[in-house]
Symmetry: C2
């Protein structure tokens, strides 16, 4: 039997795990793996001391260091859970501290640009496995972390021709023990899928709020008339602008492709309305309803 | 003192109210006015006998007739709560049964086309007041009706040059007693406001689901990957296709104008992404977040 947090190191999947960025994503992975008895020691690393202290107090991590080189020393797995645009810089900083055979993996929501930036940095004997757990809440910080965040959720791993099969197998096992259903696909497919189900909807919501909020024909803010429906529909337009700027920049190609796909359908609908084509309007709405109801 | 439902007729605002279409909208108005002691007798009228029986059983109405001519006889106010495209036909059917001085008002979610169709039908001595309570839930039928549906919600009345001031005042009083905040505006403004905060978001959601659900580059339904966020965002794409076909047809001009407004912003965002313009992207997302947070 392995005791949570400090069992016999040789028995657990990951004797030492370093979490770079101890927030909702990184902290929840730590808690899930501790609950599963899959980690020995968890080291936290981050910029904010109060957050790391909180993480320690809550048992999310076992100790912390604000120096990446120190945090990753002797770590078997290093999990990068910092914003997408910082991942390459963070990797450069911590690489000299990694032991031979260490596995670095990440949780960034864009994969093509991340792998392109990080893979060339990785030296012989260190492994990198790009990944993305599809989970989250609107909260952030170590306090928001909870052990069941990943349970029943998909985690997409995007191995490339450079990915070590054994490192990939270990990361896959890690996410399974955290409760996820692991799916493997290409970097390109991941970025198209995420562009469709997450990035495009955000662009649509941001545009909608800007369009309606800027309509000044009546010299008053017509958003004042909005009832619950509009507020619910546009909730995601309240998301963090910095995070979404980064996603829009790093998943540029996938996002532009899906935005064009959206524009095509929106233009078709507009033409049907302009023509007053009852039959096509009904078909358009009905097809959408069928597709939507199928994923309920 | 006036007893609910059958007080001294002369003391109440509306001694006899006829509700044409006893569903969520019509039924809730009846219950709200009964609770406020503002109606004497409420007569229901509709096509489905089981729904009318249910309404009777639940005390939503006092009696019913499936014949519009009979239902409106001696009614002081006739409230039309049937689908937008049926309003003119229903009005033609019931007009010969209306007494002199009767006030007809409606709850249709499009006002320009409705007033244009109905006003020419109204004879001397009968009054028509176009209106639209901004309230609703996803449920329908008499069983869904409840007395507080309109409490704290806006009700938009759209008087025209033909609207009788006394009839308008009575309808305004009726909605106030039902708990609404009454706002008066032109037919055109109503249709633009509703196009913005309700009709456009539905068109966007329907287009989004069609665009994503039709993306077949990977020969699998990528909607399967959608997590909670996408499902929440696209909930309104499950709305009734017939109802939305009717709205798209009857609010054609307002909707096309707002769809173009949306397209302009969406195209601006797409250009910013294509150019990788960090500063403009942040501004776009941030402005939207500010607008959205202001209506929370």
């Amino acid at each position: 039997m392995v005791r949570k947090g400090k069992g016999k190191m040789a028995d657990v999947l990951i004797p030492r795990l370093a979490i770079i960025g101890v927030g909702l994503i990184g902290g929840s992975l730590s808690l899930a793996l501790k609950e599963a008895g899959a980690v020995g020691e968890v080291v936290g690393c981050g910029r904010g001391k109060p957050n790391l202290e909180k993480a320690l107090e809550l048992g999310v991590i076992d100790w912390y260091s604000r120096d990446p080189l120190n945090a990753v020393r002797d770590a078997d797995v290093v999990f990068l859970a910092t914003p997408v645009k910082t991942l390459a810089t963070v990797t450069k900083e911590l690489l000299p501290g990694c032991k031979s055979g260490a596995i670095i993996t990440d949780g960034g929501s864009v994969k093509g640009a991340v792998a392109e930036m990080i893979e060339p940095l990785i030296p012989e004997g260190i492994h990198f496995v790009p990944g993305h757990p599809i989970a989250g809440t609107e909260k952030s910080g170590a306090e928001a972390a909870f052990p069941t965040l990943y349970r029943g959720k998909r985690c997409i791993l995007t191995p490339t021709e450079n990915t070590d099969p054994e490192a990939l197998a270990l990361v896959e096992k890690m996410w399974e023990l955290a409760g996820s259903e692991v799916v493997k696909m290409s970097l390109e497919k991941h970025d198209r899928v995420l562009a469709s189900i997450s990035h495009l909807p955000h662009m649509v919501a941001y545009s909608l709020v800007n369009a309606v909020g800027s309509y000044d024909h009546y010299e008053e803010n017509i958003l004042e008339y909005s009832a619950g429906g509009f507020r619910d529909f546009t909730r995601i337009a309240s998301s963090d602008p910095t995070m979404w700027r980064d996603i829009a920049e790093t998943n540029r190609d996938g996002l532009l492709e899906m935005m064009e796909q959206f524009e095509t359908y929106f233009a078709e609908l507009k033409a049907d309305i302009a023509e007053g084509n009852s039959e096509k309007l009904f078909e358009f709405f009905n097809r959408s309803k069928q597709l939507r109801d199928a994923i309920l």
